[in-house]
Structures are given as C-alpha cells and as structure tokens.
C-alpha cells in the first residue's frame, strides 16, 4: 500500500487503531527549492531541539515548520495573520507564525503544539480540558487555540471570563466552540498557578 504521511508521521486517514494505519515512511528533506533564492543560515530551537538551516529570507516560520521540519500541527488558515490558527510561542510569547519571517527567529526558542504534551505523551492540563469541555469540533483551529490559551494563562490574562475572551479574540473558531474553549482555559487557569503556563 502506498505510504502517505504527514511529514511528522501519523497516518492520512486518522485511523484510531494502529492496525489500520498505513505504513509510515522516513521523511527526507528532498524538497525542491525556488531557483535564484538567497540563503541565510539560521539557528533556533523548536520544542527544545536545535535546528540549523539555510533559509530563504522570504520563507515564513509557518512554512518552515510545516514544509521543512514536518511539524504540521501548526495550521495555515489564512496566511495573513487574521485567524490565529498558526499561533506558536517564540521565547514564550505567542506570535502568528505566518507573519514571522523564519530568519527572524535566529537564536530564539520556538514552541509548537507538538511540544506541549510531555515527551511520554501525557497531555498538558489545557489539552485535557479541551477534550473534557468539547472545546473543538473540526479541530483545525485547536492547535492555535491551545497555544493562545497557554499564553493567555501564562501572561496572567485569565482572571475572569471577559479577560479570557479579550485575550483569545485573535483566534477564530468557525465551528463556534467558544463556550468550550472559554471553559477549558478558565478551568486550567484556576487549576494552575497563573504565572506558570507552559509545563
């Protein structure tokens, strides 16, 4: 059977059971590049891993994460900084990765949705709370919502519902799961010290 993968592994049809997964293939970086591109050497960390790459200065951090590093958990909803689906953390602060030139993160630490759960797979309490409160439907905005929610709590902006709303208003959810998202962030903020967002 043809091996079709997300670059980071997994399977294309989201089979919940290992027995149904299509085979995984080892992803190389055989991607074509644009001709006549200027290259800039860039070094940064992603989820604690050091990355050194020759980058086209026009490449967005979002495209580098998704297409060159295989971290497709970060979503492209608009590519114009309007929807928040591509939210990641840069040195602990949330940014929209689609409007961030990748060369600009040189020397900095990027955290994506793939870096939120513990290495052994234990979910972060906010991820658990998203599941428990059904804070998602299609789930496309969810990685961005989780990254934004973590930052909202870490920034100390989860004091009450109005404040949470204000500080999550950059992340669109077309399915309208806002009530669940609000509940998940509120619950997690109350459970954790408001100064400690990212475990």
């Amino acid at each position: 059977m043809t091996a079709i993968v997300r670059r980071s592994g997994g399977n294309p049809t989201n089979a919940p059971d290992g027995g149904l997964c299509l085979a995984l293939s080892d992803m190389g970086s055989s991607e074509a590049t644009l001709s006549s591109a200027i290259r800039t050497e860039t070094t940064f960390t992603v989820n604690g891993r050091r990355v050194q790459m020759e980058l086209d200065p026009r490449e967005s951090l979002l495209d580098v994460l998704r297409e060159r590093l295989g971290l497709t958990g970060t979503k492209k909803g608009c590519d114009h900084g309007q929807c928040g689906a591509c939210t990641v953390h840069l040195d602990g602060r949330r940014i929209v990765s689609c409007l961030t030139p990748a060369v600009q993160v040189n020397g900095q630490a990027v955290t994506t949705i793939e870096g939120v759960a513990a290495p052994d797979g234990t979910l972060h309490p906010l991820q658990e709370a998203f599941i428990d409160n059904d804070a998602l439907q299609c789930g496309y905005c969810t990685p961005g919502q989780v990254m934004s929610g973590l930052a909202c709590i870490a920034e100390g902006h989860a004091g009450d519902d109005d404040e949470i709303r204000e500080y999550l208003s950059g992340n669109l959810c077309r399915c309208g799961a806002y009530a669940g998202i609000l509940a998940a962030v509120r619950e997690t903020a109350r459970r954790t010290d408001s100064r400690v967002g990212e475990g």
């Binding site: 027995g19 309007q82 599941i131 059904d134 998602l136 496309y140 204000e166 999550l168 077309r174 309208g176």
Partner: protein
C-alpha cells in the same frame, strides 16, 4: 462519551487534507478568471511550461473524459471552455515541484479575454426577458410555486421587502487534497469532503475512468458547513497526477478559498401577510428570488426548501409562494448550513414581528397563536405527524431568565465595540428579539437517501472487538463518536474501532442536511442488529459458550446493511403540494443586544435557545452544534457578507469578511427537549442546522427593538443603524 479523535486534535497529530505528504509529490495551482463574464480568445501556456520545475500545464483540452460536472446538473466545466461565467472560474492548471513555482507558473499563463456584460441582478435574471442568458438554456434554474386556498384579503395586512447577503461557510481549513496515480491507471484521492461517493460519481467520468478506479479516502476535514458538498480540487489534482505520473497536492490559500467553493444564496424576498385583527394568519404571499450565480450546484434543492418552508412553522390556510433560483455571473451559490430555509426564515420572522406590532400583540404571542403542532398541515399539504410543540417552546423561552440590566459603572469591554469604544456608552440602547425556525432534516423531495454500514465482530488479542466501517464524513460534528456509541450500545461490546471513511464501502450520503446521526446512525444500528441476530443464532446452538468462545469457534461475524428513511415525494411543480420532507426540526431563539445607535455597533449580550432534538445521543456534542449553529446565524445577522460589486468579490479575506470571534459570541442558555420522532432511530431529530435559522431573525429583531429601525436586510451594517437619514 468524548470524541475519539480529541487527543489527535489537541496535540496537532490529526492529519488534515492539507497536511498530507508523499515523497516526490508535486504541487498543483489553479489559474482563475479575473472577470465575471468574458470570452476566452486564447490561452498561451508556453511561458508557464518553460519555467524550471514545472511538470504540466493543463487546460480544458486536457480533460480526459466528460468536460462538465455538477451536483444536480452537469453544467460546470472542469476547466473553462471558451468563456468564463464568474470571477474565479478555473481556466488552467499547473503542477510544479514547489508551491510557489506552481503559483508563479499559473500567473505566467497568458489568457486573452474579451470582457462581456455581466448579469449581476438576480431579479433581472429572473424576470427580464431581455436579460442576456448566462447559459444557453436560459437563466431560470427552478421556479417552485406553492398554491393553497383562494382567500388573499384580510383585515390586517403587513408587507415587507427583505434581503439576505451572500454568506460564506468560511471553514478554517481551506480546500485541499492529494491525488496519487495508481498502478492500475486509476487514482487514489485523499480529500476533505462531505460526501465521498458523490465526489467519486462526478470525478470518474471526467477522468474517463470507471468508478472503481477512482478511490477516495477521507482526509481530515477542517470544517465544512456545506462548502465541501461541491467539488473543488478533486478533478484538477487527479488530472495532474494522471498526466505527470506523480502524486499531486493542491491546497487553496484563504483568498482562493473564497473563489473555490459555493456560498449561501443571497436572497431578495417580498412578503405579504394577512391576518385577523387578533393576529391569526389568513394568508401569506411571497416572492423569493435566490441568486444561484454562474452554475447550478444545489440551487434546485435550495429553491425547494425556500418554497416548502417559506411560511415557517405556522398554520396558514392560504398560501401563494413563488420561489426562484436563477443563474447570474455572480459567484456560484449552493449548500450552506440551513440551505434555503435560512433566507426565508429571516423574512417570515421579520413579518411576524410586523404583524405583532400591527395587532398589538407581543412577538411571542403572535407566534404562539399561529404555531404548528402535531397534526398541523403545512403549506405543502404535508401533515406534521411527529411532536412539534412550538407553542410550549416559545413559552419556555420567554420564561427563561434574562441577562439582567446593564450595570451603571460600565467596563468598556461590556460596550458595543469593546475596548475600541470611543464614547462612554451614552448612545447604547438595549433590545430583545425572538426568532423561530423550521428545518427539514435529511434529503427531501423524493431523493433516495440512504447510508451503508459494515460491522465486524472478531477476536483481537483474545477480546471481542467491533469494527464499524462507513463512508460518512466526520467534519467535526462528532459522527464518529455517535457511531461508536451506537455500536457499543447495540452489541454490548466495549472495544469499538471506527474505520477510516473511504469508497471501499457503500455510500453514506452527505454530511449535510443534519442527516448523518439519523441515516448513518440508522445504518450502524441496523447492521449491529443483524450482527446481533447472527450472534444470537450461534449462541442458540451453543448456550454454554461465551462470546469469546463462539467467535473462536465460528470466526469473525460481519454484516453490511443499507438504511433508508421513510420515502418522500416530489413537490407538485404547479402547486408545491406533496409529502416532501422526512423530518422537521424546530428551534427558537431569544436575543438580547446592546446597540450603540450613534456608532452603529451591536453587542449581543445573551442568546437563549430551546430546541427539540427528539432524543439526546451525546449532550456535549449536541450543545456544541447548537452553539455553533447559533454563532453562524449571529454572523449572518451582524457581520458576514461576501460583498459583490459588478460580479467581483470585494472582500476575500478574514480582514474584510468577518466571522464571529469569542468576543462576539455571548453566553447561551439552552433548553433541549426530547419529544421522540417514532420514525427515526432512537427517536432522534437532526440538530445541526435549526439553530442557524432562528438566531439570525432573533438578533435582527433585537436590534430593531433597540433602534426602532426597519432593518430589512442582513447582515445589519453599522451604517444601516448610524447613518439612517433622519425622519426618513
């Protein structure tokens, strides 16, 4: 029970169609028309082909099979042939080894257009014989009359002209998919869609392939709401893959997505309601014109809904409705949550408020006096043969506690416009409004609407295990949760796996019309029952054996069943009469708004809803559906519109096409009723669409109550409130 895909979705591991990757794959790009109407004199693909990294450039001449496709009529060319009929129509395709190269190559294709007059006025397209035809067969897609009774005068008469703007589904995960050429000359297509088999039915003839050589698998779907019912990149990616012999991925950007799918039909509606002095409806006359844009899509069915549900859930003895769907050179329109019923609902509910005012009744009372109930006859002659406790729902809604008065010391965040407010709230007025909606569930008008399920029970690691396989699209609504719940309940086996949806099992029909819990849920239930019967027979022969031992002895048990809901009939083409609907669902909303009448800004303070769902299968997912549907209705009332001028879209971005944020969506009070429908599996009633209907008129009515303005158009824009000429 929680979503089986929840963990994948909160960790970023869930693979959406845009996340797929195959070594050596190419990227496809689409060249689209900048004109709403033009002849194509020539297409020169030479400059694109000459670019390094480009593997193929295709035009309509390269379509291997049939050149046209479509959901109801095959009137849309795979790639434009000699003319374009809307801005954004696909003209040519490119495959290249880098997405940016593909886009640049598409831009390098030289198309010589001769611009024509664009037909952009739907009423003109419907009624003016001198209007140029958008298609050779004319501009009328469907005219559906409804005719009942002959009394069209009454003591109280209210009239209105209403308009609904073009709404976009605006799912967050743009159209995308991966086509892989097969060794047998066929193609494997991994795509985000709502209905795998109807895609297969349309794709295969255009590729000149038998259906079994076009295999579709559902990739992760980033929202749908109707916009994935029509094809987008399916045929295009397959053509490029077959031509190059390489896998081809196409992912639309946000701007392209606005041109890549159909929208909700804009509507222009004229209504006249006649009633007795005490507010009982005598007659309703209506003319509903729906702009279908350049291609048919599902316009005929949208017209059918607007006509058959055009008076709403009210008893009326005399009805004269004409609903039209027309071609224009505007963007094509088709399915969106609520499908034809949304537009009419905004108009008839606006009329009910006018009637209440004319008769000196409250908005709730006038609705109660005319409400349908079980046994009522609809305008189509169909008898409501299941519970429809509309009057009780309205009473319950009215009795729900409200949000309380705004506090005197106002936080900026609580004002319309939020922290961007430039006043101290001096111009803020509060208003309350009500809305009622009725939606048909499942496909209507005689459609053979069914779903297929395959269920297998076997021993895995010594334990009994159920595998449920359907082709039904999980689009976020939570269908896989429901399927697993049903299998677990019917078979009493804890370990249940939902197989990925693909075309190796029979059709499940579309994830639309709020139908999947009913129809695919029904198919899974029926199949589990068949499996259970076989297990019971096996058990009868060996009463001493456990289930594990029986499965050990006999091997796996597998059954496949199709499930059909009760049949419907077409609408009579002259009178609209017929039992055209399977199931009807009601939802009622109350909206409380604060309006800054000087700035034209609206803040929805609270929304309350009562909905009858027959039977609750999954409370969490159900509440999510009601919240989500309500949010999209709120969006239509206040902010969402694709602005089209002279056939061109002015706002194809999320900066200019606004959808509700978490700040716009207020807290909701819900009351969910369970009056079972005896015809439906478990008595359930489809739930996803009804709240989308009633929230729009409720919000609009609340804004009217706050401002005293007519507001005959949604979305209500700030200038409609703040820039109204005085004493106009």
């Amino acid at each position: 029970m929680l979503r089986p895909d929840g963990t994948l979705k909160v960790t970023g591991e869930f693979a959406y169609s845009s996340d797929l990757w195959l070594d050596g794959m190419l990227w496809g790009a689409t060249l689209r028309s900048p004109h709403p109407s033009a002849w194509i004199r020539s297409v020169d693909v030479g400059p694109a082909l000459a670019m390094p990294g480009v593997f193929a450039v295709l035009t309509h001449e390269d379509v291997p099979g049939e050149k046209f496709y479509g959901l109801e009529h095959k009137d849309q060319p795979v790639l434009a042939i000699d003319q374009v009929r809307y801005q954004g129509e696909a003209v040519a395709l490119v495959a290249a080894d880098h997405p940016e190269t593909a886009r640049r190559a598409a831009a390098a294709i030289v198309v010589d257009y001769e611009v024509r007059e664009a037909v952009v006025d739907a009423r003109r397209a419907a009624f003016d014989p001198s209007c140029p035809p958008v298609h050779a067969h004319g501009n009328l897609v469907r005219h559906q009359p409804v005719r009942v009774g002959s009394t069209f005068d009454a003591p109280v008469v209210v009239t209105g002209e209403y308009e609904v703007g073009m709404q976009d589904q605006a799912f967050l995960g743009p159209e995308s998919g991966l086509a892989v050429p097969g060794e047998d000359g066929g193609v494997d297509l991994y795509v985000a869609t709502q209905w795998l088999h109807v895609d297969q039915d349309q794709v295969a003839p255009c590729l000149a392939l038998p259906k079994e050589k076009v295999r579709l698998s559902l990739a992760g779907v980033g929202g749908a709401f109707g916009a994935r019912e029509d094809l987008s990149m399916q045929i295009h990616a397959s053509m490029l893959a077959l031509r190059t012999g390489k896998p081809v991925k196409i992912v639309y950007g946000r701007e392209e997505s606005f041109f890549g799918h159909v929208h909700r039909h804009p509507a222009r509606m004229r209504y006249e309601h006649g009633a007795t002095a005490d507010g009982r409806l005598v007659y309703v006359r209506a003319e509903i014109v729906l702009d279908g844009g350049a291609y048919c899509s599902s316009s005929p069915a949208v017209v059918g809904n607007a006509a058959s549900l055009g008076v709403g859930p009210y008893e009326v003895g005399n009805v004269w409705i004409d609903a039209y769907g027309v071609y224009t050179n505007n963007p094509p329109c088709g399915a969106m949550r609520g499908f034809g019923a949304v537009q009419a609902c905004y108009a008839y509910e606006s009329q009910m408020d006018r009637l209440a005012e004319a008769c000196g009744l409250s908005p709730v009372e006038v609705r109660i006096r005319n409400a349908v109930s079980q046994g009522s006859k609809l305008a189509t002659g169909q008898i409501v043969d299941t519970p429809a406790p509309l009057a009780d729902m309205l009473r319950e809604l009215e009795a729900m506690p409200g949000p309380g008065e705004p506090s005197a010391a106002r936080d900026l965040r609580s004002l319309p416009g939020g922290v961007a407010q430039t006043t101290h709230g001096e111009g803020v007025r509060r208003g309350v409004g009500y809305g009622v909606g009725i939606k048909n569930i499942c496909f209507s008008e005689g459609f053979d609407d069914y779903s297929t399920a395959r269920v297998r029970v076997e021993l895995l690691g010594g334990e009994p295990h159920v595998l449920v396989h359907t082709a039904a699209a999980e689009v976020g609504q939570g269908l896989i949760t429901i399927k697993a719940q049903i299998a677990r309940t019917e078979l009493g086996i804890d370990k249940v796996t939902i197989a990925p949806a693909d075309t190796s099992v029979g059709s499940a029909g579309s994830s639309s019309a709020s139908r999947q819990s009913y129809v695919t849920g029904g198919a899974v239930k029926a199949t589990c029952e068949a499996v259970r019967e076989r297990l019971d027979r096996m058990r009868a022969g060996h009463p001493e054996l456990t289930l594990e031992e029986l499965l050990e002895l006999y091997g796996p048990v597998e059954e496949t069943r199709e499930y059909r809901h009760r049949p419907t009939t077409p609408m009579d083409p002259l009178t609209g009469q017929g039992d055209s609907h399977v199931q009807l669902a009601l939802c009622v909303h109350r909206a409380v708004v604060d309006v800054d009448v000087e700035l034209g800004l609206v803040k929805v303070v609270e929304l309350a809803a009562v909905q009858d769902v027959g039977r609750i299968l999954n409370p969490l997912a159900l509440e999510g559906q009601i919240h989500g549907g309500t949010a999209q209705g709120l969006g239509l009332a206040l902010m969402e519109e694709i602005q089209v001028r002279d056939g061109k879209v002015l706002n194809p971005s999320f900066t200019d096409y606004l959808i509700p944020t978490i700040l716009d969506m207020p807290p909701m009070r819900l009351s969910i009723l369970e009056n079972p429908d005896p015809h439906a599996p478990y008595g359930l009633r489809g739930a996803g669409e009804p709240p989308t209907l009633s929230s729009t008129p409720a919000v609009a009515a609340a804004v009217r109550a706050a401002t005293g303005l007519d507001l005959p158009r949604v979305p209500i824009r700030p200038e409609d409130i703040a820039l109204v000429p005085a004493a106009g």
